[in-house]
Subunit: 362 residues, 2 copies
């Protein structure tokens, strides 16, 4: 069993011992769980992250309204302990099944719906301070990476510069990935696989000494942890490439500031020095993309208004400028529109020019 697993088990067992002690001494055992609702989430301008406040709520064993959730959290702790002991991982869905035990002598299952096991896992994360990846529970798997970096993963040495047209598939859980050799000078993260394939075919990462990473839409937790670790451990700038639209901006927002849903783990997921490389308002004129503007639908307009008012964007003049330009334009522009300038325009001209000029938003 890896050392890290042992430490986590120790912490979970401490929690269990405390409860046992309370039972033995005739007390009403309780779990003291940080509140995850919006009222307890705030933006911290000092750390530049969305964080969880200090409010907690007590969940009692001898309380009809609490007992089901209490038992589910304990069951989650038991399941996680087993996973750590055998050093294996399960997905959220699989953990739901692993926890779906029928309580002896009854017809009651510990969990009926996955929402219940998910919440129990979140409780356990908050109680122990460990992220679900550390508890051996995997989130979504998506995305690929290629570039000037060699990793070690489950005993295999993997050179990401020798991955053909596909790249290395990024696992849902990247906690145990070791970096063996990092020649890259920066990381380029993009929201679309098709753009990744364009840059990979052009060997952009070879010509520009970098790593390219993409998933589809929002970055998975596995990718966010990989980016964060490359930022922390190797001080690599993380440059982000999305469409010029509110949804693309929000992908960047989550990467840099964290999200409300995962406010408890911003300290492990947020990449506070991520840089937004493009597409930005100025590029549209500069690269002659005016004809490629796609008119806003109501849903886009509404989303733009929401994002504009996010606390972390409010004081940022550069971002407010982008929002205003987008509002005036009444439309969005996709990165793929650069193809109108030439098949490899994005990798031969657009990106090298922007990177050289540090033409990004912090």
């Amino acid at each position: 069993m890896p050392k890290n697993n042992k430490e986590i088990i120790k912490k979970i067992e401490l929690l269990g011992k405390q409860i046992l002690k309370e039972i033995k001494s005739g007390e009403n055992p309780f779990l003291d769980i940080p509140i995850r609702s919006l009222s307890n989430v705030y933006y911290n301008p000092k750390t530049k992250m969305i964080e969880l406040g200090l409010s907690k709520s007590k969940r009692y064993f001898f309380n009809v309204a609490h007992i089901r959730k209490f038992v589910q959290t304990i069951e989650a702790a038991a399941t996680v302990t087993e996973l750590l002991k055998v050093d294996k991982h399960l997905s959220l869905r699989q953990v739901f099944y692993a926890m779906r035990r029928t309580i002896k002598g009854t017809n009651i299952d510990v969990v009926d719906e996955q929402t219940e096991s998910n919440q129990a896992i979140e409780d356990l994360e908050l109680l122990t301070g460990f992220a679900r990846e550390e508890l051996h529970i995997n989130a979504k798997k998506s995305g690929a990476a290629a570039g000037k970096i060699v990793i070690k993963d489950r005993g295999d040495i993997i050179d990401l510069s020798k991955m053909g047209s596909g790249g290395w598939a990024i696992p849902s859980n990247t906690e145990d990935v070791e970096f063996k050799k990092v020649d890259a000078k920066f990381v380029l993260y993009m929201e679309k696989d098709a753009m990744w394939e364009r840059l990979n075919e052009d060997k952009f990462w070879e010509k520009n000494n970098c790593v390219i990473i993409a998933s589809q839409g929002q970055a998975t937790r596995g990718i966010r942890r990989l980016l964060r670790r490359l930022s922390d451990e190797y001080k690599l700038p993380i440059l982000v490439l999305t469409d010029f639209d509110p949804w693309g901006f929000y992908i960047f927002s989550v990467l840099k500031y964290g999200s409300i849903a995962l406010a408890n783990f911003s300290n492990k997921l947020a990449i506070t020095n991520a840089k937004f490389l493009g597409m930005r308002a100025e590029d549209i004129k500069k690269y002659g993309l005016e004809r490629q503007i796609i008119k806003f639908k109501d849903v886009d307009k509404k989303r733009l208004e929401q994002i504009k008012n996010y606390e972390w964007f409010k004081e940022n003049k550069e971002w407010q400028k982008q929002f205003k330009r987008m509002k005036d334009m009444k439309g969005k522009v996709e990165l793929d529109a650069l193809v109108t300038r030439g098949i490899s325009f994005v990798s031969e001209k657009y990106l090298p020019e922007k990177i050289k000029n540090k033409d990004w938003i912090e």
Copy 2:
């Protein structure tokens, strides 16, 4: 330029020359395009594939109702020729932008919506007989592979048994992937990444001498071509693993028989000897999963009725038995439910047992 590219360009140029000849001789040039509507799609019990019939329709240049589509098809041909000449690939979305040219002296764009460029590409596929991958147009990228196989791709030698926890990310276009060493005895395709991660962590492919491949939901065209080629070139059995529900059955159906939407390329995509390994009705009792049945919603019921009546399933007694059992059960069972029997039950017991007993549906 690769030899294959040259041949395709030659075929496209022949098409162009014919049209030029017709113009010069004062005729009304036309394209003779196979009809893709449902009326021209049928199941061929001899080939065991869903195929396109012989009906065609003529599209004329001097015809107000035809000209826009005529020009779009020609523009698609020009774009593809350029891609082949520079030996680069674009996605469907990127091709839309590449074709979005404003016609000189007018304010008219060749294409306004991606549906137009998509249709033009399909026309070109049908006119030339080449699949879009051969025309250097990429579809969706998704999925990962690991196992006892060594490939060569864009000059890189990639050993799929040394890919750590992530696997090799499968590109959208697998036409140029070379198989260098195939030690695998079969391929296991599954619909969910989380199951793939379970099997990969258990090194199922090492213990059982195989390759494991997954995407999320329906297999991408890239994966279908990869499976098909391993079936054709190495006679590897392709075993399919999905949930016991109508949607899982349909994933298998598309892999084996092809689909209505891509009936024109069943001959390149359908894997006629694919085998459905599970989850099947009999497994539910055998492995004690009765409590894991998830009640059908109306949409599931309706889908089951549709699938039951597909021509290729109608005469198949084994499939009809599955449909009947599912209808009686009024519910579905997920593969992940095997976790209730143990974390690695699926890789240590369920799969080895089924494979040994050839417990599958053809």
